[in-house]
Symmetry: C2
Subunit: 163 residues, 2 copies
């Protein structure tokens, strides 16, 4: 298959941590990196991409940190993938039908190539499936599966590190 | 989104050309490259990958060439994507939940991470959509949209170059 960058995994996990923040609290980029032992310079880039997409918001100044930019039920896996990987489609048609001994003229290529259209259709199905999965449904599943001790552990750490 | 390699586009187009071969005929790798003005060394690699997947077959010796390895209605876009990109999933979980101050123990991670599971579900939907699109249905659409002159042009070139 194709490959999603590691940043998608990191960003999604980090968003679930931010979703657990108490009201009015924030976590620094360093604390988020520490939570999963992620390289902080690279995670900082993902956080910037998430911020540009409105998925997280950040405050400036000493102790400035991150929190979700909107409720977790309004953040989908598609939002995160698009923020990190960009909006371009997976299949990028380079119009090779306009090359070679049987080349089509550009004027005869107003309709998309059947191959590009077929990939486009499958990608739309993929995007819809990613859009249907929201952060809050992921978190509900996680909470349902986790041990109470682990949840307490996480909540304690997040409360201690957030400001 | 993620990015499919250029080779997927080239391989899919080249398979549609092979599907148009008269019975018992073959096209050389060079002729296939010439048809869309593709870099022949790189296309040769895609053809090897398609051959390993049984999508094309090749004959050896002077004038040896390629033809489809099975009927076009038994070749899907998923077959081609897997042949070129490999069978690995797009989302590759690196188990970061086992890192950091609230790390889960490996023994407590028998169930897949909820995030990996959610991406896996969306990918399965994508794979199903790619699997539902076969080479012969693409070709039917192409033939339905193409001008008779262009089809004659292609058929003439393929007949001339195939052996």
């Amino acid at each position: 298959m194709v490959k999603l960058s590691r940043g998608v995994e990191w960003a999604t996990h980090s968003c679930t941590v931010l979703a657990a923040l108490p009201e009015e609290r924030e976590l620094s980029a360093e604390a988020l990196a520490e939570f999963y032992e992620l390289p902080s310079a690279y995670l900082a880039k993902q956080l910037q991409a998430l911020r540009r997409a409105g998925i997280v918001q950040s405050s400036r100044g000493k102790g400035g940190g991150y929190r979700l930019g909107r409720p977790a039920n309004m953040i989908s896996l598609l939002d995160i993938v698009r923020a990190i990987e960009g909006p371009e489609p997976a299949f990028r048609c380079s119009e090779i039908r306009q090359n070679g001994p049987c080349a089509l003229k550009k004027a005869d290529c107003k309709r998309p190539c059947e191959i590009a259209a077929a990939f486009g259709k499958a990608e739309q199905v993929f995007r819809n499936a990613l859009a249907a999965q929201t952060l809050d449904s992921l978190i509900s599943e996680f909470v349902g599966n986790a041990s109470p001790a682990h949840l307490m552990d996480m909540a304690g750490w997040i409360r201690e590190k957030s400001g």
